[in-house]
């Protein structure tokens, strides 16, 4: 089976509600068949608007959206055949679970026995068999959520949209539902477009993540690449934890550059989005890439003062005052070698220049 690589295609899509501000700017995005793609971003970044345009509840101000090569801007939502899971589930409160699931099948004029079969299958998929005659109000949040997922899949759509479906659940339930949705996706191979503002949700579930900010896709890549190799300082800040140093490039030399920080010290960094000497930059470094008192040879070695120690069980977070940055965070794994971390101590901190990414200035 050859995969359709642009099953969903946003082609130069703009969206504005008031004619003054563009909520979505020049969006180009290809989504492959069977992919689980997440639109991740802070609220107001345009991700939900994109989803609504895809579902047909909003029309693009400019540009076109293609579904399986066909432009869909003029197709009303009910003819698009796209399943959707809403933020607050949007289960029909006056119908039983069975009737909720049968709704999309009834409007498609399926036979009664076929409806029964499909509803059964969908309910067992979300392990809710036997709940047919309950009303949504009698279900817990997690169960309602699963009914909503089952309802969006029961008519076998090729594409399912999920708009922050786990937002209303508590943390434990959210995590187990993440796996459940992921497994459902893997087992039936449907294309999923998932919107969330929760980065851990995005990282655990997606094939690819599109990070939205300010109406634009900042970076579109797989979760690991997004985390390890952010292309700009917004992505670096938004995904995971991040230590930053503001400075100026002084010495560009191919794969390395020197950055002069505001307090005068120079560090070696990996130039990503800086071009030449004198460029202002923000150097980004993941907390777990900086090591303390290590014997490994690394090209950045500095001394810092411990300002705060927070015990997290499996690791300890250490806040340092380092190179003028009072918010420098370190994650120290919980092992006996690191028991001398005390407030006020001076420690050696080192990292590889490859991990210190010189990005655009904030």
């Amino acid at each position: 089976m050859s995969k359709n690589l642009d099953f969903v295609k946003f082609d130069k899509v703009d969206k504005s509600y008031d004619g003054k501000v563009l909520v979505v700017k020049d969006l180009n995005l290809d989504i492959a068949e069977g992919e689980f793609i997440t639109m991740l971003g802070p609220s107001g970044s345009g991700k939900t608007t994109c989803l609504m345009m895809l579902a047909g509840f909003e029309t693009p101000t400019n540009g076109e959206i293609y579904l399986d090569k066909n432009p869909i801007s003029n197709i009303p939502p009910h003819k698009r055949g796209i399943g959707m899971v809403f933020q607050n589930y949007a289960l029909f409160p006056h119908m039983t679970v069975y009737e909720n699931l049968a709704f999309p099948l009834k409007v498609r004029k399926f036979q009664k026995d076929e409806i029964d079969k499909k509803v059964d299958k969908a309910l067992s998929m979300v392990s809710l068999s036997g709940f047919e005659n309950r009303m949504p109000g009698q279900l817990s949040g997690g169960q309602q959520q699963r009914v909503a997922v089952a309802r969006s899949l029961v008519f076998d759509p090729q594409l399912v949209l999920m708009d922050e479906p786990l937002g209303a659940l508590d943390k434990n339930l959210r995590e187990s539902m993440q796996y459940e949705i992921k497994h459902i996706h893997e087992s039936i191979g449907v294309t999923v477009v998932y919107v969330t503002h929760d980065q851990s949700e995005a990282l655990t579930m997606s094939n690819r993540i599109a990070v939205f900010n300010d109406g634009k896709v900042q970076q579109l890549s797989s979760p690991d690449k997004l985390y390890e190799e952010p292309v700009n300082s917004f992505v670096a800040e938004f995904i995971g934890e991040n230590n930053t140093f503001a400075g100026q490039v002084t010495n560009m030399s191919g794969k390395e550059c020197k950055v002069k920080l505001n307090d005068g010290t120079e560090i070696v960094a990996n130039p990503i989005s800086v071009k030449s000497n004198g460029d202002k930059t923000t150097v980004s470094l993941r907390p777990e890439r900086a090591l303390i008192n290590t014997k490994e040879k690394m090209d950045n070695n500095f001394k810092g003062k411990i300002e705060e120690v927070i015990y997290h069980g499996d690791h300890t977070r250490v806040r340092l005052h380092l190179l003028g940055n009072k918010e420098f965070i370190l994650k120290v794994p919980n092992s006996s070698a690191n028991m001398d971390i005390k407030m006020g101590n001076q420690i050696n901190v080192s990292w590889n220049s490859h991990d210190a990414r010189a990005l655009d200035p904030k």
Partner: protein, 417 residues
């Protein structure tokens, strides 16, 4: 189980329940004192008058009290032939007493209600009775007028013996108890109340329907528009509330009369000829138009309050699952608004069924309702017991509608906002 709970004691050794009651007594008294003024107010202005109305509508003590001896002696009479001398004697005594007290006029009015023809023979009896001799009253009274020898008239007197009567209620539905004691309808050309009841129901029903048809889209618009527009629209809906009912009705009179604004407009656009302006007032049309406008807010508000709570994502879900906009509306949105529809319709129907001022002013002869008839008997004929009876029938009708509604939809589902 209960014996176990009884055993629970507080640390001081007092049973828990006693201690709890003691602790809550103060709050209960406080709560009662807070509602006491309203309770008293309701008792005086609502419950007591309704009770009084009920009594009045079935009260028939007047004649019973005026002819106590007569009715006592009539107890043994089988009503087949003329009553025995005993009855005539006690009737004479009762009547003489009434004449002394100058209450015989009331008796003749009351008896005339029961059977026509009493007025003149009682007058005659009053004149002649002065010269009656003691004994053999039967002969003497029968000699006054031939009707006194007619058993029908004595039966009519006997019918007034009970202290309570359903006569007013029967009259309310154009029926009466005939001489044989059977309940029958009055002649066809005298049936005016049934027409009024039916017209009241008809007008209330169509006003409710019209209100519903107009209010549903407005309420939906109100619930979905952005705040700043919906507030403005809400003010437009509520504007009628801030104008006096009388003023609103009067303005409808200005609009609807034959030389009125609406007719002028119709003539101007050439819809009707100047010399054949339609009558839109002093008939049903006027009642429909004015009542619908006045009762519209009572439909809009409950509908709005229900629609406001329906998440727009439900309609979206309906559409995204493949329902056409109509299917999504009909299967998803509409069923969720039923509590509001029920509340609005019940409210408008109940208000419409007892509407008074508007039909009185713009209804004319063919547009008046049962409440106008009640008012007529209150003010003009002074037959308060009949007015009470009809008022109570109206109340019973409303309660019946409420009961039916409760069976069909369930009152718990009503949402008034």
């Amino acid at each position: 189980m209960s014996s176990e709970t009884e055993k629970i004691l507080t640390t001081d050794g007092i049973p828990l329940e006693v201690s709890l009651k003691k602790a809550e007594r103060k709050n209960k008294i406080k709560a009662f004192l807070l509602v006491a003024p309203l309770l008293l107010f309701l008792l005086i202005t609502y419950i007591f008058p309704i009770g009084d109305m009920l009594m009045r509508s079935v009260d028939d003590k007047m004649v019973t009290e005026m002819l106590p001896k007569t009715f006592k002696s009539m107890e043994k009479w089988d009503g087949k032939e003329l009553p025995p001398e005993e009855v005539f004697e006690s009737f004479y005594l009762d009547f003489q007493k009434l004449v002394e007290e100058k209450r015989d006029g009331k008796l003749s009015t009351q008896l005339n209600y029961t059977k026509n023809g009493f007025k003149s023979i009682l007058k005659k009896l009053r004149r002649k009775a002065k010269n009656f001799e003691e004994g053999n009253y039967k002969e003497q009274i029968m000699a006054v007028h031939q009707r006194w020898a007619d058993v029908e008239y004595w039966r009519a007197i006997q019918r007034r013996a009970p202290a309570y009567t359903s006569q007013k209620y029967l009259k309310g539905i154009d029926m009466y108890k005939n001489e044989e004691g059977n309940i029958v309808s009055v002649e066809e050309d005298r049936r005016i109340h049934r027409i009024l009841w039916l017209r009241t129901l008809e007008i209330a029903f169509f006003v409710t329907l019209l209100c519903f048809l107009m209010a549903y889209p407005i309420a939906h618009l109100l619930a979905t528009l952005p705040m700043k527009y919906s507030n403005l629209l809400m003010i437009c809906v509520l504007l009628p509330f801030w104008t006096s009912l009388l003023v609103r009705t009067a303005s409808w009179m200005i609009l609807l009369q034959q030389q009125g604004v609406v007719n002028d407009f119709f003539v101007m656009i050439g819809l009707v000829a100047d010399d054949s302006r339609p009558e839109m007032m002093f008939n049903k049309t006027g009642t429909y138009v004015a009542m619908t406008q006045i009762l519209l807010p009572f439909m809009v508000l409950p509908l709005y309050s229900v629609m406001k709570t329906i998440s727009p994502s439900l309609m979206r879900a309906g559409k995204s699952l493949g329902g056409t906009p109509f299917v999504a509306f009909w299967k998803v949105y509409f069923p969720l608004t039923i509590p509001g529809i029920g509340a609005g319709c019940l409210l408008v129907f109940i208000l419409a069924i007892g509407y008074y001022i508007t039909p009185a002013l713009v209804g004319g002869a063919s547009g008046t309702l049962i409440s106008n008839q009640i008012a007529f008997h209150m003010k003009s004929t002074l037959d308060w017991s009949f007015a009470s009876a009809m008022g109570l029938m109206l109340l019973a009708g409303v309660l019946a509608i409420y009961w039916v509604y409760n069976k069909l939809v369930g009152v718990d589902n009503i949402k008034l906002g």
